[in-house]
Symmetry: C3
Subunit: 352 residues, 3 copies
Amino acid sequence: MKKISMKGNDVVTTQELSTDEIEAILKLAFEMKKDRYADKWAELLKRKTFIMFFYNPSLRTRQSFEAAATELGGHAQFIEPKAMRLRGLKKGNIEVAGETIHDAAKVMARYAVGIGIRILETSVDNYGDGNKILREYAKHMDIPVINMADDIYHPCQGLADVMGMRMHNNNLPTRGKTLLQTWAKGALARSYCSVHESLLLNSRLGLNIKLAYPDDNYDLPDDIIEQVRKNCKENKTKFELIKGDPEKGYTEADYVYSRNWFGKDFYQIGKEAEIKRATDIKYKDWICTEEKMKKANKDCKFIHPMPVDEDSEVTREVNQGPRSIILDIAENRLHVQKAIMAMTIAGLEMGL
Amino acid sequence: MKKISMKGNDVVTTQELSTDEIEAILKLAFEMKKDRYADKWAELLKRKTFIMFFYNPSLRTRQSFEAAATELGGHAQFIEPKAMRLRGLKKGNIEVAGETIHDAAKVMARYAVGIGIRILETSVDNYGDGNKILREYAKHMDIPVINMADDIYHPCQGLADVMGMRMHNNNLPTRGKTLLQTWAKGALARSYCSVHESLLLNSRLGLNIKLAYPDDNYDLPDDIIEQVRKNCKENKTKFELIKGDPEKGYTEADYVYSRNWFGKDFYQIGKEAEIKRATDIKYKDWICTEEKMKKANKDCKFIHPMPVDEDSEVTREVNQGPRSIILDIAENRLHVQKAIMAMTIAGLEMGL
Amino acid sequence: MKKISMKGNDVVTTQELSTDEIEAILKLAFEMKKDRYADKWAELLKRKTFIMFFYNPSLRTRQSFEAAATELGGHAQFIEPKAMRLRGLKKGNIEVAGETIHDAAKVMARYAVGIGIRILETSVDNYGDGNKILREYAKHMDIPVINMADDIYHPCQGLADVMGMRMHNNNLPTRGKTLLQTWAKGALARSYCSVHESLLLNSRLGLNIKLAYPDDNYDLPDDIIEQVRKNCKENKTKFELIKGDPEKGYTEADYVYSRNWFGKDFYQIGKEAEIKRATDIKYKDWICTEEKMKKANKDCKFIHPMPVDEDSEVTREVNQGPRSIILDIAENRLHVQKAIMAMTIAGLEMGL
């Protein structure tokens, strides 16, 4: 038996965790789910403070992290940097006065034993800047930093997805299964991070990946695609990129993850233009329907990180029907986050 | 001895509770008040999450529910739906994209063991829509939903009122006493819910009811009046409706509840027009004064759910004087809410 | 051994505490720091509510008070009066309707065992009004009121400063040392309270005080200066006022506290005009530099309540260098606040 320790570690993306670390987190998350309110978990963060630091608000992330801290015996503080006098991060928002990230990070590490940071595309100017800022905080802090979603990665969502897929696979690993990750239309101009993390993590864990989107407007960043290809190659699985066909990818899929994401020029054109484009009639078939699901493997499941944009990303029939595992995945956010906090902050070790 | 169980039940209005359930909640609330910080209560929600879901903000409701969860060993999360991408509830605010109530409800029930919802007239288009939305959440949730005030009902306030009335009646039931519920002038365009609940609950518990307001502008909804009449009839008590006389109702009153409410056309004319009307000189006498109180029964008490609009709804002399039981009532919010949470969420049973 | 009890007391400024009370708080804060998460502290506020009442938001104050309540076994509620229907405090913001401070105070005292209030210059019309309002709350409340910074005083900051100064003085009192309190340029139009409290408390504790600022624009209020002079006189220490020389004060200083504050006409001219003035080129030398620090005593320390406005108030070299004790001071906010809460709310007595 191997002992896996993550004490003091940051969690920025699952791509930077070892597969042992991923398995350790998942194993602990399943144990915590089975015995959710057991007293033993309550010692892990007893009366300690976890800071939820939200450049971008998010209700589900907040609810699940806040409940996680409570269930571990601690307390999560909800903090919005906009209430701070921090030096500006964004063009047109340049504060010459104000506190540096260095100072803000160092002080928060005095009050808290761990911190979650959420910073998406709308808080920065360029793709990747959110992730850079998150890493800058991590550099100055001697407490674990947990990524609560940045403009590239979303490790907690990816792990919750995988936990849900296993729950609906007799609690077995999904190696050898096929995931269709498909773009969907809609007016929400959604972030990349959940989609990236799903592609990176599932390719890592031995699934065949099909990635479908309508046209060059919706290419994902090159480096992500390259990493997913590489992950598949290492696992000897298939990676298929399907452009322009909203149906083809369903064949042989065991999981369909249908979700909108914004175009690669989003940082330049902005939200309004993106929404106009993504709701154009030409994309009308980019929605997950029961009809399409029937072309997939028997028992093919529908995945989504929620909130779902019903009638755009998926029909109600699928979303609220027996194929949908989205509620279990949403609940799993809590369990994987508790597991991550327990291992990185409290130093709980897991045997594999 | 009867065992009263409310495990898993919603609490939308006291009108939908049995009188046994009402008495059980009050009995437990008195016990909890006597021994507020006892360890035994702290097992009831130990490390569990209660969501406070505020379509409309409210400080007192928040403070009392948040303290209630803490004192029961749990944690209350403060959540505002405006931070969510929920589909629009209101005309002129139509979101075609966004999450359905079905999905939002189902997920919150995964993180929390109970939820309080507050949704008033300003969050909806028509009278009663707030209550409908609250019931829609309840339909989709398998955890207790507690009404923290909607556009019709306010059960926790009603129960806190009754508890205060009993405290100042040697802890005895108030059956046979007389309540004057009177409209008051002022610039706050206040909601119906506290007034409705007071009328419904006190008529249910055997009080004679006098309802006074200036003119047709301030008629309460017909179905509420009808229910109050019916409650009185079943209890063989008197129901008297007094229009146009701000003094008459004080005669023989044991409790005077003086509070502003908006007119029946509020949903159409809006807040500004309502305030203009309610502050008109012609309504100048619609205020509770010590002079009027002297016409009531000896020891007549002043009731108000707070915040009080002093000098409009009541004079300072009465509000801060010995007749006023408003602070005890405000404190009772905490105790009745703890009792409701204990019975519905934790399943604590009460013997009557 | 003397037993110091502060049960039920308010803490508005250290100037109104006895030196025994100051020493008792500091002694307890050091003990709490040594054994931060010990179970014994958790009985002090067990499942009790502390209200953080923020007329003006502040992240650090919130983080440290919220963590303090958690570590004492209780829960801190974050409340903003702007969400309440309180009668207006400020000209041009006159609410004729709404709740009185009397009522708001009385109700909060029913839910909570203690309250912190923060109210700065931007929430009121005249210098000192914030402090008056805080004292009005205290008058109506039978629970301890702790000043979380008003427009005159900031006792928790002052005590945290002193605790940091002692930590870097072999845990010994700083009697006989010299503090330079100097104005600094910058665009933040900062409040007086931290500066006042530092002057009042350090002069009280037997330090020599040098107070430096550029010209009449930045005179501090007369009554504060008079009190500091008096404190020095009682301690037979030196008080030196240095106008117009940004360097002279460094000589013989053991501690340099360099921070911007707004001019005495700030309440009249407003923020924009103040910032324009304070960033004028003529004040360019009003910054703490390593070069200046070299003129001070060996091991001279840099003090600041944070957030620091780097490059205006102090250079990065000093702020992030070995002279800087700002992070320890920031952490000490937590420890002194826990100590104050323990003594005033929980009634913990300290032997001196």
